[in-house]
């Protein structure tokens, strides 16, 4: 028994020594190691994450931590200075409770949002008027639009979601959607639309796949080139906000995000549109003018 106590003490001492040893031996590059954190929009997350992986691969000892949490979280965290980058689907000015003073906007990309419907609806085109009528609940069955006799199931994104704000502002021309199902992620929305007869919702271009049917509006198809020429109106910027002008690693990383290499390779794959390719720009109040917005 005494021996057991002795063994216990030896283990404790060895662990402590090993701990110190490990601390001393921690990589010498640790002093060069830098890490920054980006938090916020789940829509922007995959892009920034993919870019950060490439960036870290090219620059040893650099650690870019990309988290989701939603645009609200991104903006409140950058406002409070807890993180270096705040990702948002919306202009800081559009978000209630945020003081945009001191925040610097970096428009990283443009995303288009398209209505999607369940396959069995067999409708490929709607007018803006019809779209508004559907989402405000004035039309409740697809046969009223020449489709099959199936009741319409509306599916919304959660209140405050960037995609929803964009869709209501530019797709429904400022009309608010009727109270209906709400889901807080594009993946779930797509899943529900694909499995529920008569369902209609909206997602950004990147999420459209074979399982759901995208809908043209007033005969205009939801394509990237239509967004660039502002023929397709339902689009928004993806922003990264910084507290004051970016410095150091943050600055370098933001430049990296905007360079041609990333914009041409990653953006296409992910369904984002490069800000450089835009023929039109838009202010947070919704004023459109010609130019790339850079």
């Amino acid at each position: 028994m005494r021996r057991r106590t002795l063994v216990k003490w030896i283990i404790v001492i060895v662990v402590v020594i090993a701990g110190f040893g490990a601390y001393e031996a921690r990589s010498k590059t640790a002093t060069n190691q830098q890490s920054i954190t980006a938090v916020g929009s789940t829509a922007l997350q995959p892009l920034v994450e993919a870019a950060s992986e490439e960036y870290s691969a090219e620059h040893a000892g650099i650690f870019i931590n990309v988290q989701g949490g939603g645009s609200g979280t991104g903006l409140s965290q950058i406002e409070s200075g807890a993180v270096q980058m705040g990702n948002s689907d919306l202009f800081a000015q559009e978000k209630e409770g945020i003081n945009p003073k001191g925040l610097v906007d970096h428009k990283i990309a443009v995303v288009g949002v398209t209505p999607i419907v369940n396959d069995n609806v067999h409708i490929k085109n709607l007018t803006t008027h019809q779209l508004i009528a559907i989402f405000t609940g004035r039309i409740t069955n697809w046969y009223q639009l020449g489709g099959p006799h199936i009741p319409i199931t509306l599916i919304n994104r959660s209140q405050g979601s960037g995609t929803r704000v964009t869709f209501e502002k530019y797709g429904l021309k400022g009309h608010e959607s009727a109270v209906a199902q709400e889901q807080d992620s594009s993946g779930t929305v797509r899943q529900i639309v694909s499995s529920t007869p008569g369902a209609i919702s909206y997602v950004s271009f990147g999420y459209v796949n074979k399982s759901v049917q995208p809908v043209s509006i007033d005969g205009i198809r939801p394509t990237e080139s239509n967004v660039m020429h502002n023929r397709w109106k339902i689009w928004s910027y993806e922003h990264i906000y910084t507290q004051g002008a970016p410095t150091g690693l943050t600055k370098k990383f933001l430049q990296y995000l905007k360079n041609n290499h990333i914009q041409t390779t990653l953006f296409n794959k992910l369904g984002y549109i490069s800000v450089k390719d835009m023929q039109y720009q838009r202010t947070w109040q919704g004023k459109v003018s010609k130019g790339s917005g850079e």
Binding site: A25, E49, G68, A82, K269, L270
Partner: protein
């Protein structure tokens, strides 16, 4: 055969039916997960890192993170829960104050995990400046786990017969020695069930971790086991997406083409991992129990 006996037989038959039905439901669930998931599982899938938007990503890092986070969370929460449940079951007087404490602990467990997650986020990630890290995640999971674990252990302690406690006290031992050396070992099987139950919740938890341990899983350097290096698997300060968070993430915002395969494969792996964990926990528990009860 008289009426009561017949009644008894019918009732017991009914119980068997209920049990069979439950088994059927459970078997269906697990079968569903395995049948849709297992065909997507391969050695490569288990070992390679995840890919954000191209096909062929694996879940190696996430799997490791889940296990590491679980172990860390258990190391933190088990002693606290054990201590608290010892106090509640052995020392606390049976009065309104004690029952108020119990009620408070019980209602804490009904909080949605996102609330606990945000609390952990504001406290550990922001206030303590631990960042999105394993340690923030483990501490948050501790908060999330403590109520259930404490109540579970308390129940197991209470199920040990009072005779055992009297025996210890009658020998002139302190209550504390009696509890630690007699009651706790006797309650060990129940305590292990509790630990397994809570481990399951840790494995499956997503919402509490999104804001604390984070949803990114940077590639790890599996050659470096020095916990002070940030790319070491053991580093408690690195962000760590767990398997459950990964499943949640790719289902909500994933844009890789093989999303369904990765998602169902991950679910199957998760269930398998839990199975292996439970079996080994039970095995180790039994060994410890045998050692404590028979050796000396």
């Amino acid at each position: 055969m008289n009426r009561t006996q017949k009644q008894s037989q019918i009732a017991i038959l009914l119980l068997r039916l209920i049990a069979a039905l439950v088994v059927l439901i459970l078997a269906f669930l697990i079968g569903y997960i395995f049948i849709t998931g297992l065909p997507n599982v391969s050695w490569k899938f288990l070992t390679s890192p995840a890919k954000a938007f191209t096909a062929g990503g694996g879940i190696g890092v996430q799997l490791f993170n889940s296990i590491y986070l679980l172990i860390l969370a258990m190391i933190i929460s088990l002693p606290i829960a054990l201590g608290a449940s010892i106090y509640l079951s052995e020392y606390a007087k049976d009065n309104w104050f004690t029952s108020m404490i119990r009620t408070a602990i019980e209602i804490l467990s009904s909080l949605p995990s996102v609330v606990v997650g945000l609390f952990g986020f504001l406290l550990f990630v922001v206030q303590f400046n631990y960042g999105f890290s394993i340690i923030s995640g483990a501490l948050t999971l501790t908060i999330f786990n403590l109520p259930l674990l404490t109540r579970n252990i308390e129940e197991s302690l209470a199920s040990v017969s009072d005779d055992q406690r009297q025996g210890g006290l009658g020998l002139g031992l302190s209550k504390y020695e009696t509890i630690v050396h007699i009651v706790v070992p006797a309650a060990l099987p129940g305590i292990i069930s509790g630990v397994i139950l809570c481990s399951g919740r840790v494995f499956g938890e997503a919402a509490a971790l999104i804001y604390t341990a984070g949803q990114s899983a940077p590639a790890l350097n599996f050659g470096d086991w020095n916990p002070f290096n940030i790319d070491s698997p053991l580093s408690p300060l690195r962000p760590a997406e767990t398997l459950a968070v990964h499943i949640w993430k790719i289902n909500s915002e994933g844009i890789m083409p093989d999303l369904t395969q990765v998602s169902s494969g991950s679910a199957a792996v998760l269930v398998l991992a839990i199975l292996i964990f439970n079996l080994s926990a039970r095995y180790i528990g039994r060994k410890i129990f045998e050692k404590m009860t028979s050796m000396n």
